[in-house]
Protein backbone atom coordinates (compact mmCIF):
# COMPACT_ATOMS: atom_id res chain seq x y z
CA UNK A 1 0.00 0.00 0.00
CA UNK A 2 1.37 3.35 -1.05
CA UNK A 3 1.77 5.95 1.65
CA UNK A 4 -0.82 8.70 1.67
CA UNK A 5 1.82 11.40 1.47
CA UNK A 6 3.49 9.93 -1.62
CA UNK A 7 3.37 12.29 -4.58
CA UNK A 8 4.02 10.83 -8.02
CA UNK A 9 6.57 12.48 -10.27
CA UNK A 10 4.90 13.15 -13.59
CA UNK A 11 6.80 14.57 -16.53
CA UNK A 12 4.54 16.29 -19.04
CA UNK A 13 5.76 17.08 -22.54
CA UNK A 14 3.49 19.81 -23.87
CA UNK A 15 3.53 20.97 -27.46
CA UNK A 16 3.90 24.71 -27.67
CA UNK A 17 0.96 25.31 -30.02
CA UNK A 18 -1.75 23.28 -28.33
CA UNK A 19 -0.88 21.35 -25.16
CA UNK A 20 1.16 24.11 -23.58
CA UNK A 21 -1.31 26.78 -24.63
CA UNK A 22 -4.08 24.66 -23.10
CA UNK A 23 -2.10 24.41 -19.87
CA UNK A 24 -1.60 28.18 -19.99
CA UNK A 25 -5.33 28.71 -20.35
CA UNK A 26 -5.96 26.40 -17.41
CA UNK A 27 -3.47 28.48 -15.44
CA UNK A 28 -4.83 31.92 -16.28
CA UNK A 29 -8.35 30.65 -15.68
CA UNK A 30 -7.25 29.61 -12.17
CA UNK A 31 -8.19 26.00 -12.71
CA UNK A 32 -6.60 23.62 -10.28
CA UNK A 33 -4.67 20.51 -11.17
CA UNK A 34 -2.06 18.39 -9.36
CA UNK A 35 1.64 19.07 -9.65
CA UNK A 36 3.46 17.92 -12.76
CA UNK A 37 6.80 18.76 -14.31
CA UNK A 38 5.79 20.53 -17.52
CA UNK A 39 8.31 20.65 -20.36
CA UNK A 40 7.47 22.75 -23.38
CA UNK A 41 8.44 21.18 -26.68
CA UNK A 42 7.89 22.42 -30.20
CA UNK A 43 5.74 19.50 -31.24
CA UNK A 44 4.48 16.24 -29.76
CA UNK A 45 6.28 14.70 -32.75
CA UNK A 46 9.58 15.90 -31.30
CA UNK A 47 9.07 13.91 -28.10
CA UNK A 48 11.53 11.23 -28.89
CA UNK A 49 11.00 7.74 -27.37
CA UNK A 50 14.48 8.17 -25.86
CA UNK A 51 13.10 11.02 -23.77
CA UNK A 52 10.16 8.97 -22.53
CA UNK A 53 12.37 6.01 -21.62
CA UNK A 54 14.99 8.28 -20.05
CA UNK A 55 12.31 9.88 -17.88
CA UNK A 56 11.43 6.44 -16.51
CA UNK A 57 15.08 5.44 -16.08
CA UNK A 58 15.71 8.61 -14.11
CA UNK A 59 12.84 8.42 -11.67
CA UNK A 60 9.61 9.57 -13.31
CA UNK A 61 6.52 7.59 -12.34
CA UNK A 62 4.46 8.71 -15.32
CA UNK A 63 4.88 10.54 -18.61
CA UNK A 64 2.12 12.66 -20.14
CA UNK A 65 2.34 13.93 -23.70
CA UNK A 66 -0.06 16.56 -25.00
CA UNK A 67 -0.29 17.47 -28.67
CA UNK A 68 -2.68 18.92 -31.22
CA UNK A 69 -5.84 17.16 -32.32
CA UNK A 70 -5.74 14.79 -35.28
CA UNK A 71 -6.14 14.94 -38.22
CA UNK A 72 -5.24 18.51 -39.11
CA UNK A 73 -4.41 20.66 -36.08
CA UNK A 74 -0.66 19.96 -36.01
CA UNK A 75 1.40 23.04 -36.80
CA UNK A 76 3.93 20.76 -38.50
CA UNK A 77 1.29 18.83 -40.50
CA UNK A 78 1.86 15.32 -39.10
CA UNK A 79 3.84 15.56 -35.85
CA UNK A 80 0.85 14.42 -33.83
CA UNK A 81 0.64 11.24 -35.93
CA UNK A 82 4.31 10.55 -35.25
CA UNK A 83 3.63 10.93 -31.54
CA UNK A 84 0.64 8.59 -31.74
CA UNK A 85 2.57 5.85 -33.54
CA UNK A 86 5.62 6.18 -31.30
CA UNK A 87 3.54 6.04 -28.14
CA UNK A 88 1.79 2.92 -29.45
CA UNK A 89 5.16 1.18 -29.82
CA UNK A 90 6.67 2.58 -26.62
CA UNK A 91 3.69 1.25 -24.67
CA UNK A 92 4.18 -2.21 -26.11
CA UNK A 93 7.91 -2.01 -25.32
CA UNK A 94 7.23 -0.90 -21.75
CA UNK A 95 4.84 -3.74 -21.07
CA UNK A 96 7.50 -6.20 -22.29
CA UNK A 97 9.92 -4.58 -19.86
CA UNK A 98 7.45 -5.06 -17.02
CA UNK A 99 6.39 -1.42 -16.80
CA UNK A 100 2.64 -0.79 -16.78
CA UNK A 101 1.81 0.85 -20.09
CA UNK A 102 -0.72 3.13 -18.44
CA UNK A 103 2.23 5.10 -17.09
CA UNK A 104 2.37 6.77 -20.50
CA UNK A 105 -0.58 8.81 -21.67
CA UNK A 106 -1.02 10.71 -24.90
CA UNK A 107 -3.77 13.31 -25.16
CA UNK A 108 -4.81 15.82 -27.79
CA UNK A 109 -5.44 19.16 -26.10
CA UNK A 110 -6.12 22.32 -28.07
CA UNK A 111 -5.29 25.85 -26.96
CA UNK A 112 -8.96 26.31 -26.04
CA UNK A 113 -9.17 23.21 -23.83
CA UNK A 114 -7.92 24.42 -20.47
CA UNK A 115 -10.67 22.49 -18.76
CA UNK A 116 -9.73 19.27 -20.55
CA UNK A 117 -6.06 19.78 -19.59
CA UNK A 118 -6.92 20.12 -15.94
CA UNK A 119 -9.19 17.06 -16.07
CA UNK A 120 -6.58 14.92 -17.88
CA UNK A 121 -3.85 15.84 -15.39
CA UNK A 122 -6.14 15.06 -12.46
CA UNK A 123 -7.10 11.68 -13.92
CA UNK A 124 -3.54 10.77 -14.80
CA UNK A 125 -2.24 11.81 -11.39
CA UNK A 126 -4.83 9.60 -9.70
CA UNK A 127 -3.98 6.71 -12.04
CA UNK A 128 -0.26 6.96 -11.21
CA UNK A 129 -1.01 7.21 -7.49
CA UNK A 130 -3.00 4.02 -7.86
CA UNK A 131 -0.10 2.30 -9.68
CA UNK A 132 2.39 3.47 -7.06
CA UNK A 133 6.09 4.33 -7.43
CA UNK A 134 7.78 2.88 -10.50
CA UNK A 135 10.20 0.06 -9.97
CA UNK A 136 12.16 -0.93 -13.06
CA UNK A 137 12.95 -4.57 -12.65
CA UNK A 138 14.61 -5.47 -15.98
Amino acid sequence: MVEKSWRPRIVAFLCRWCGYAGADLAGVSRMKYPEIYPIRVNCSGSVHPELILDAFRKGADGVLICGCHTPNDCHYISGNYKALKRVALVKKLLSQLGINQERVRLEWISAAEGRKFSRVVKEFYEKIRELGPLEVRV
Partner: protein, 310 residues
Protein backbone atom coordinates in the same frame (compact mmCIF):
# COMPACT_ATOMS: atom_id res chain seq x y z
CA UNK B 1 57.14 -11.44 -26.42
CA UNK B 2 53.74 -9.98 -25.59
CA UNK B 3 51.33 -12.26 -23.79
CA UNK B 4 47.69 -12.72 -24.78
CA UNK B 5 44.82 -14.55 -23.13
CA UNK B 6 41.36 -15.10 -24.62
CA UNK B 7 38.55 -16.17 -22.35
CA UNK B 8 34.88 -15.64 -21.85
CA UNK B 9 31.65 -15.74 -19.91
CA UNK B 10 28.15 -16.36 -21.26
CA UNK B 11 29.21 -16.76 -24.85
CA UNK B 12 28.76 -19.04 -27.83
CA UNK B 13 32.50 -18.90 -28.61
CA UNK B 14 31.69 -17.42 -31.99
CA UNK B 15 34.10 -14.58 -31.20
CA UNK B 16 36.91 -17.13 -30.76
CA UNK B 17 36.07 -18.63 -34.08
CA UNK B 18 36.01 -15.16 -35.66
CA UNK B 19 39.75 -14.90 -34.91
CA UNK B 20 40.23 -17.79 -37.29
CA UNK B 21 38.66 -15.75 -40.06
CA UNK B 22 41.98 -13.92 -40.17
CA UNK B 23 43.76 -14.72 -43.43
CA UNK B 24 46.31 -17.54 -43.04
CA UNK B 25 49.45 -15.41 -43.24
CA UNK B 26 48.10 -12.87 -40.76
CA UNK B 27 47.15 -15.60 -38.34
CA UNK B 28 50.60 -17.11 -38.65
CA UNK B 29 52.27 -13.74 -38.12
CA UNK B 30 50.07 -13.10 -35.14
CA UNK B 31 51.00 -16.37 -33.49
CA UNK B 32 54.69 -15.83 -34.16
CA UNK B 33 54.69 -12.35 -32.65
CA UNK B 34 52.69 -12.96 -29.47
CA UNK B 35 52.54 -15.71 -26.92
CA UNK B 36 49.03 -17.04 -26.32
CA UNK B 37 49.03 -18.08 -22.68
CA UNK B 38 45.39 -19.08 -22.37
CA UNK B 39 42.71 -19.83 -24.92
CA UNK B 40 40.40 -22.58 -23.74
CA UNK B 41 38.45 -22.83 -26.98
CA UNK B 42 41.44 -23.82 -29.08
CA UNK B 43 44.19 -24.96 -26.74
CA UNK B 44 44.46 -27.49 -23.99
CA UNK B 45 44.38 -24.97 -21.19
CA UNK B 46 42.73 -25.14 -17.81
CA UNK B 47 41.52 -22.41 -15.55
CA UNK B 48 44.45 -23.16 -13.21
CA UNK B 49 46.83 -22.25 -16.02
CA UNK B 50 45.19 -18.86 -16.22
CA UNK B 51 45.25 -18.38 -12.46
CA UNK B 52 48.97 -19.19 -12.42
CA UNK B 53 49.75 -16.35 -14.83
CA UNK B 54 51.14 -13.02 -13.66
CA UNK B 55 50.59 -9.87 -15.70
CA UNK B 56 49.18 -10.42 -19.20
CA UNK B 57 49.56 -7.73 -21.87
CA UNK B 58 46.19 -8.28 -23.51
CA UNK B 59 43.12 -10.11 -22.27
CA UNK B 60 40.19 -10.45 -24.65
CA UNK B 61 36.98 -11.31 -22.83
CA UNK B 62 33.93 -12.47 -24.78
CA UNK B 63 30.43 -13.10 -23.42
CA UNK B 64 28.43 -11.39 -20.72
CA UNK B 65 28.40 -12.19 -17.00
CA UNK B 66 25.74 -14.76 -16.17
CA UNK B 67 27.19 -16.77 -13.28
CA UNK B 68 29.31 -16.21 -10.22
CA UNK B 69 32.10 -18.09 -11.97
CA UNK B 70 32.07 -15.67 -14.92
CA UNK B 71 32.24 -12.77 -12.52
CA UNK B 72 35.24 -14.16 -10.62
CA UNK B 73 37.03 -14.96 -13.85
CA UNK B 74 36.41 -11.45 -15.15
CA UNK B 75 37.74 -9.82 -11.99
CA UNK B 76 40.87 -11.96 -12.21
CA UNK B 77 41.19 -11.02 -15.86
CA UNK B 78 41.08 -7.35 -14.97
CA UNK B 79 43.72 -7.74 -12.30
CA UNK B 80 46.08 -9.49 -14.67
CA UNK B 81 45.39 -7.48 -17.82
CA UNK B 82 47.43 -4.53 -19.01
CA UNK B 83 44.70 -4.04 -21.63
CA UNK B 84 41.25 -5.56 -21.22
CA UNK B 85 39.12 -5.87 -24.34
CA UNK B 86 35.39 -6.59 -24.50
CA UNK B 87 35.36 -8.85 -27.54
CA UNK B 88 31.99 -8.95 -29.27
CA UNK B 89 28.53 -7.67 -28.48
CA UNK B 90 27.84 -9.93 -25.49
CA UNK B 91 30.81 -8.62 -23.55
CA UNK B 92 30.11 -5.06 -24.71
CA UNK B 93 26.32 -4.85 -24.34
CA UNK B 94 25.06 -8.18 -22.96
CA UNK B 95 24.12 -9.62 -26.34
CA UNK B 96 21.36 -12.03 -27.20
CA UNK B 97 21.60 -13.99 -23.90
CA UNK B 98 20.73 -10.67 -22.25
CA UNK B 99 17.13 -10.90 -23.48
CA UNK B 100 16.73 -13.46 -20.67
CA UNK B 101 16.67 -10.44 -18.34
CA UNK B 102 13.02 -10.01 -19.29
CA UNK B 103 12.25 -13.01 -17.12
CA UNK B 104 12.83 -13.78 -13.46
CA UNK B 105 15.81 -16.01 -12.77
CA UNK B 106 13.73 -18.64 -10.99
CA UNK B 107 11.41 -18.96 -13.96
CA UNK B 108 14.34 -19.40 -16.36
CA UNK B 109 15.99 -22.07 -14.22
CA UNK B 110 12.74 -23.92 -13.79
CA UNK B 111 12.14 -23.80 -17.51
CA UNK B 112 15.55 -25.32 -18.28
CA UNK B 113 16.23 -27.67 -15.38
CA UNK B 114 12.78 -28.36 -13.99
CA UNK B 115 12.84 -28.96 -10.26
CA UNK B 116 16.33 -30.49 -10.42
CA UNK B 117 18.08 -27.16 -10.16
CA UNK B 118 18.16 -26.71 -6.39
CA UNK B 119 19.82 -30.12 -6.12
CA UNK B 120 22.50 -29.29 -8.68
CA UNK B 121 23.12 -25.65 -7.85
CA UNK B 122 26.47 -24.78 -6.35
CA UNK B 123 27.96 -28.20 -6.97
CA UNK B 124 27.77 -28.99 -10.65
CA UNK B 125 26.24 -25.78 -11.92
CA UNK B 126 27.83 -22.45 -10.98
CA UNK B 127 25.56 -20.08 -9.07
CA UNK B 128 23.76 -17.79 -11.53
CA UNK B 129 23.62 -14.03 -11.06
CA UNK B 130 20.19 -12.43 -10.83
CA UNK B 131 20.70 -10.61 -14.16
CA UNK B 132 23.06 -11.01 -17.07
CA UNK B 133 25.24 -7.92 -17.38
CA UNK B 134 27.89 -6.64 -19.77
CA UNK B 135 31.42 -6.78 -18.39
CA UNK B 136 31.60 -3.01 -17.97
CA UNK B 137 29.09 -3.38 -15.12
CA UNK B 138 31.82 -5.01 -13.03
CA UNK B 139 35.20 -3.80 -14.24
CA UNK B 140 36.79 -1.02 -16.22
CA UNK B 141 37.10 -1.94 -19.88
CA UNK B 142 39.85 -0.50 -22.08
CA UNK B 143 38.53 -1.30 -25.54
CA UNK B 144 35.25 -2.51 -26.97
CA UNK B 145 35.17 -4.51 -30.20
CA UNK B 146 31.44 -4.82 -30.88
CA UNK B 147 29.87 -7.14 -33.41
CA UNK B 148 28.37 -10.60 -33.42
CA UNK B 149 31.05 -11.63 -34.08
CA UNK B 150 33.31 -8.58 -34.53
CA UNK B 151 34.29 -8.10 -38.20
CA UNK B 152 37.58 -9.80 -38.94
CA UNK B 153 39.00 -6.54 -40.36
CA UNK B 154 38.41 -4.83 -37.02
CA UNK B 155 40.07 -7.65 -35.09
CA UNK B 156 43.01 -7.67 -37.46
CA UNK B 157 43.42 -3.88 -37.24
CA UNK B 158 43.24 -3.99 -33.47
CA UNK B 159 45.85 -6.73 -33.18
CA UNK B 160 48.14 -4.83 -35.55
CA UNK B 161 47.91 -1.74 -33.37
CA UNK B 162 48.47 -3.84 -30.29
CA UNK B 163 51.60 -5.51 -31.66
CA UNK B 164 53.00 -2.18 -32.86
CA UNK B 165 52.03 -0.47 -29.62
CA UNK B 166 50.03 2.19 -31.48
CA UNK B 167 46.57 1.76 -30.00
CA UNK B 168 44.24 4.79 -30.11
CA UNK B 169 42.71 6.28 -26.93
CA UNK B 170 40.53 3.89 -24.95
CA UNK B 171 36.90 3.33 -25.90
CA UNK B 172 35.04 1.71 -28.75
CA UNK B 173 37.44 0.46 -31.40
CA UNK B 174 35.43 0.73 -34.57
CA UNK B 175 34.30 2.84 -37.49
CA UNK B 176 32.73 6.25 -36.97
CA UNK B 177 29.92 5.47 -39.38
CA UNK B 178 26.59 3.69 -39.68
CA UNK B 179 25.72 0.49 -41.52
CA UNK B 180 23.69 2.62 -43.97
CA UNK B 181 26.93 4.38 -44.95
CA UNK B 182 28.33 1.05 -46.07
CA UNK B 183 25.17 -0.30 -47.70
CA UNK B 184 24.93 0.04 -51.49
CA UNK B 185 21.19 -0.39 -51.82
CA UNK B 186 19.11 2.30 -53.47
CA UNK B 187 17.51 4.46 -50.78
CA UNK B 188 14.32 6.26 -51.85
CA UNK B 189 13.67 9.73 -50.42
CA UNK B 190 10.21 8.93 -49.16
CA UNK B 191 9.35 5.68 -47.40
CA UNK B 192 6.06 4.49 -45.97
CA UNK B 193 5.51 1.05 -44.49
CA UNK B 194 1.92 -0.16 -44.76
CA UNK B 195 2.65 -3.71 -43.76
CA UNK B 196 5.78 -5.10 -42.12
CA UNK B 197 7.30 -7.95 -44.09
CA UNK B 198 8.79 -10.60 -41.86
CA UNK B 199 11.91 -12.59 -42.62
CA UNK B 200 11.09 -15.87 -44.29
CA UNK B 201 7.47 -14.92 -44.96
CA UNK B 202 5.73 -16.29 -48.04
CA UNK B 203 6.61 -13.36 -50.28
CA UNK B 204 10.19 -13.07 -49.03
CA UNK B 205 11.53 -14.11 -52.44
CA UNK B 206 10.10 -10.88 -53.87
CA UNK B 207 12.61 -8.78 -51.91
CA UNK B 208 14.71 -6.76 -54.34
CA UNK B 209 18.39 -7.07 -53.31
CA UNK B 210 19.15 -3.65 -54.80
CA UNK B 211 16.59 -1.59 -52.86
CA UNK B 212 16.61 -0.47 -49.20
CA UNK B 213 14.92 -2.96 -46.88
CA UNK B 214 12.84 -0.27 -45.18
CA UNK B 215 11.39 0.79 -48.52
CA UNK B 216 10.22 -2.81 -48.94
CA UNK B 217 8.62 -2.99 -45.53
CA UNK B 218 11.37 -4.96 -43.79
CA UNK B 219 12.61 -3.66 -40.44
CA UNK B 220 16.36 -2.99 -40.75
CA UNK B 221 18.49 -1.42 -38.01
CA UNK B 222 21.23 -0.14 -40.33
CA UNK B 223 20.47 3.53 -39.74
CA UNK B 224 21.21 3.41 -36.01
CA UNK B 225 23.94 0.77 -35.97
CA UNK B 226 27.68 1.32 -36.03
CA UNK B 227 29.37 0.48 -39.32
CA UNK B 228 32.54 -1.50 -39.88
CA UNK B 229 30.84 -4.74 -40.87
CA UNK B 230 30.69 -3.70 -44.55
CA UNK B 231 26.96 -4.45 -44.37
CA UNK B 232 27.70 -8.15 -44.54
CA UNK B 233 24.17 -9.25 -43.58
CA UNK B 234 22.51 -6.84 -45.98
CA UNK B 235 24.72 -8.07 -48.81
CA UNK B 236 23.46 -11.57 -48.01
CA UNK B 237 19.91 -10.17 -48.41
CA UNK B 238 19.25 -10.19 -44.67
CA UNK B 239 18.31 -6.99 -42.81
CA UNK B 240 20.61 -5.48 -40.18
CA UNK B 241 19.78 -6.62 -36.66
CA UNK B 242 22.01 -4.10 -34.91
CA UNK B 243 24.80 -6.34 -33.61
CA UNK B 244 27.45 -3.61 -33.82
CA UNK B 245 25.61 -1.58 -31.20
CA UNK B 246 24.67 2.10 -31.35
CA UNK B 247 26.20 4.23 -34.10
CA UNK B 248 28.31 7.22 -33.00
CA UNK B 249 26.22 9.95 -31.31
CA UNK B 250 23.27 7.64 -30.79
CA UNK B 251 22.53 7.22 -27.13
CA UNK B 252 19.75 4.65 -27.20
CA UNK B 253 19.91 2.45 -30.27
CA UNK B 254 16.62 0.66 -29.60
CA UNK B 255 14.60 3.78 -28.88
CA UNK B 256 16.04 5.53 -31.92
CA UNK B 257 15.06 2.80 -34.37
CA UNK B 258 11.70 2.36 -32.65
CA UNK B 259 11.10 6.02 -33.35
CA UNK B 260 12.16 5.70 -36.97
CA UNK B 261 10.02 2.66 -37.67
CA UNK B 262 7.01 4.20 -35.91
CA UNK B 263 7.32 7.31 -38.09
CA UNK B 264 7.41 5.25 -41.28
CA UNK B 265 4.49 2.98 -40.42
CA UNK B 266 1.23 3.97 -42.14
CA UNK B 267 2.82 7.25 -43.23
CA UNK B 268 0.77 7.43 -46.40
CA UNK B 269 -2.56 6.29 -45.06
CA UNK B 270 -2.52 7.78 -41.56
CA UNK B 271 -4.73 10.77 -42.34
CA UNK B 272 -7.50 8.45 -43.52
CA UNK B 273 -7.44 6.26 -40.44
CA UNK B 274 -8.85 6.88 -36.99
CA UNK B 275 -6.48 7.19 -34.02
CA UNK B 276 -7.62 3.83 -32.71
CA UNK B 277 -7.02 2.11 -36.03
CA UNK B 278 -3.50 3.51 -36.27
CA UNK B 279 -2.73 2.54 -32.68
CA UNK B 280 -3.92 -1.02 -33.21
CA UNK B 281 -2.21 -1.51 -36.54
CA UNK B 282 1.13 -0.19 -35.29
CA UNK B 283 1.01 -2.53 -32.32
CA UNK B 284 0.01 -5.43 -34.55
CA UNK B 285 2.76 -4.87 -37.12
CA UNK B 286 5.62 -4.86 -34.58
CA UNK B 287 5.19 -8.12 -32.71
CA UNK B 288 8.18 -8.05 -30.36
CA UNK B 289 9.69 -4.57 -29.86
CA UNK B 290 12.31 -5.65 -27.31
CA UNK B 291 13.52 -8.59 -29.37
CA UNK B 292 13.62 -6.50 -32.51
CA UNK B 293 15.08 -3.23 -31.25
CA UNK B 294 17.17 -4.34 -28.23
CA UNK B 295 18.25 -7.72 -29.60
CA UNK B 296 21.90 -7.24 -28.62
CA UNK B 297 21.77 -4.40 -26.13
CA UNK B 298 19.02 -4.95 -23.55
CA UNK B 299 21.30 -5.30 -20.47
CA UNK B 300 23.31 -2.27 -21.62
CA UNK B 301 20.31 0.05 -21.68
CA UNK B 302 18.19 -1.44 -18.93
CA UNK B 303 19.71 -2.16 -15.55
CA UNK B 304 23.22 -2.22 -16.98
CA UNK B 305 26.21 0.03 -17.28
CA UNK B 306 24.62 2.97 -19.01
CA UNK B 307 23.97 5.19 -16.01
CA UNK B 308 27.19 7.14 -15.85
CA UNK B 309 26.93 8.73 -19.28
CA UNK B 310 25.31 12.02 -18.21
Amino acid sequence: MKKIAILGGASCSGCDVALFDLPGDELERFFSEVEVVFWSTTMDSRIEDFEAQGKIDLVMFHGGIRTEEHRKLLIQAREKAEILVALGSCASFGGIPGIANLFELDAILKDIYGDEFTKLSGERIPKPEERLKPISSYVEVDYYLPGCPPPVETISEFLDHFILGSLPPRGIFGKESTVCDECDRIKPEDISIEEVKRIGSKDWSEIDPKVCFLAQGVVCLGAVTRGGCKARCINANFPCRGCMGPAPNIRDQGARILSEIASLLMKESEKNLSDEEIYERVQKEIVDPVGLFYRYTLPHYWGGSNEEDD
